[in-house]
């Protein structure tokens, strides 16, 4: 379950700086290797795409995929579940891409998938 925004900000406002190390995070996405299942919402939803873009810019863009990610613009042949799993579990092999399954909820990862899909042709 996603933490309601007002609770999040209320908690953040009350926390001493030391407590901020343990700030409230959304529920974890599924464990690595688990099936992603179908997207829980329409990946063409503009609001979801916008939310995914904001998340992409803060976590994926700087010094990696870029704010105009050439890897995904006009890309075809990707599958939604593969993209979801890669974001959740991190890059396969020895690539430096971190896993985000511990940080983002399922919905938040799917929003990233929605944004990446909106850039491509798949």
């Amino acid at each position: 379950m996603k933490t309601p925004t007002f609770i999040f900000f209320a908690l953040m406002g009350c926390m001493a700086s030391a407590m901020a190390f343990n700030a409230v995070l959304p529920d974890k996405a599924a464990e690595p290797g688990a099936s992603a299942g179908p997207a829980p919402f329409d990946l063409r939803d503009p609001a979801r795409i916008k939310a995914g873009m904001a998340r992409f810019q803060s976590t994926c863009a700087d010094y990696c995929h870029g704010h105009k990610p050439a890897l995904f613009i006009d890309r075809d042949g990707l599958e939604a579940e593969y993209v979801f799993n890669t974001i959740r579990d991190g890059g396969k092999g020895a690539t430096p891409m971190p896993p985000w399954g511990e940080v983002f909820s399922q919905d938040e990862i799917w929003e990233l998938v929605a944004y990446i899909r909106s850039l491509g042709k798949w």
């Binding site: 803060s58 976590t59 092999g93 430096p96 891409m97």
Partner: protein
Amino acid sequence: MKTPMRPALRPVVSALCIALFCGSAAANNWAEYNGDKAGSRYLAGGKVNAQSVKSMKVAWRWSMPDNKVWQDNAELRTWVNQSTPLAIDGVLYSSSPMAMVSAIDGSTGKTLWTYDPKAYVEGTPPNLGFISRGLSYWADGKDKRILVGTGDGYLIALNAKTGKPIENWGDKGRIDLTKGLRRFVDRSLVSLTSPPIVCGNTVVPSLAVLDSFAVGRSPMKSHPPGDIQAFDIRTGKRVWHFEQPPQEGQPGNETWEDGSWKTTGSANMWARPSCDEELGLVYLPFSTPTNDFYGGHRKGNGLFGESVVALNAKTGKIAWYQQIVHHGLWDYDLPTAPNLMDLTVNGKKVKALAQVTKQGFVFTFDRSTGQPVWPITEKPVPQSTVPGERSSLTQPFPSLPAPFVQQGVTEDDLIDLTPQLKEEAKKILSRYNYGPLYYPPTLDKAGTLQVPGVLGGASWAGAAHNPKTNVLYVPSFTIPFGIKLKKENEGVYDYTGTWAGVGGPQGLPLFKPPFSTVTAIDMNTGKHLWRIPAGKGPVDHPALKDLKLDRVGVPRESFIALTDEVLFLAPEGTNSVIGLSSRGNALITQATAEEKEPFLYAHDARTGNLLGEIRLPGAAFGALMTYRANGRQYVVVPIGGAGLPAELVAVQVD
């Protein structure tokens, strides 16, 4: 009739001419990658001033010869173009990402000759792929040579006039740097990206080694070591071999526990060293041992990882050393050649060395003895909680100069230009563990928010120094990185690092502006003189445009070159990862074609005020240089690469 000079005056005038380069051709040259062997990035004299830089114009553009190679073979795409030329008596000598070497007419940009070492035949070099940051020049009478390092591990000596290899040097003009080390070295794991330095009669090459945590290849315990090999400049014969880590019986070996000195790799010197030929010392800036973010297998301080080491250039014997980071866990490699300078501190003359660092410090030492110019204190730092890790209890903190960039993270550091941006930034921050400088890498959440990030702070762009004023100009930027360790179930390490650059809300940076700066420091006193944003930055962003901000700095590193009155500055362009090389050893990227701020700026070297600017045909990706030819002065900017044509752009500045 000319008045003959009185004999008694001749030595005085000669000395002055040496000091001021009295109209000689040498006065117009940029004879070393960093301007000189002291790493100054400075050219004295000339007519460049506040007025002349108001009418800067592009004089010529030069297309690099390897553009055709990668355009014909997509497998061989290069990294961004970081190749900065030398200028010798009106001729420019340039490398290219694939280490092709060309001589160019300095007035017209016309190619005189090109040498192709075919360093691309076996595929892409490690880490960031094809990079050649520049060349070295050496002359003895009519014997004039160009030295280039290649992406496939060779050091090559060329005849500067013809571009042909020096047949009686090394093995028919080249030396294989993968040979002669203590263990087999896989050629795909090493690359010569920085030009070597010639110190006296000794040439000392740098060697980049795959950061195995980072790209493609699974980490190896027996990684290429950080050894330095030095060679006779005339013959190419090896004259000494400095072993890194130090082997049994050598000083520093005791700082590697459980025999970890036998297998630990990297701790290499990928940046260029500096040299004081009068003292006969070469100053080596070393990097982090493997792997960059976890050291449970290499307990101890790990000399000479992340250390400045002064070696006798003739013998390779240690004169002194200072470790900048103990038991490194942050990839805080020493990223650039130390700046050598002759200071007057509290009335006392000091031959000094200043090392700028990724973590935002300037460490200043007496370069004869290694003693700190200002006190350096060991202070307690946060400790790692990762199983098997034993982080250093303390790290060295210099008392002067003050840090030139944000260090560590508090909520007060977050961008707060609008209340909404601040709230969104707090949410991003909550994903990470964070704390003061040297907060160690972590396993949970999105890892540790590392500030400065792995790229700096100061970076490979280095710092410029005016030896007449002893002002040091340090470009820096604040791009945090998230460092998250992951447990390895296979392979040789218990943990390896993953990383990602961390942005802020709405595509803006996470922390308060300025997002990048140049800090001017009076090195006689250690005090900051001024600090300016490096470039305009995203002031026109929809969330900021109503604030009517002036300049906040481009959130990238900046390249600089210095004259007596003007500091030239060019913010770096951007590129995005599109995959791994087919060899699995390097990141492959696409440079941004429509860059937001592809500018060369001219600032008043005394005040930092902006004097002039010119829009370039592409953003800078390599170090700047400046030279004079035919009575005009130029600043040269490397642009392109990574899917765009690699070029040099010469801007006339007087």
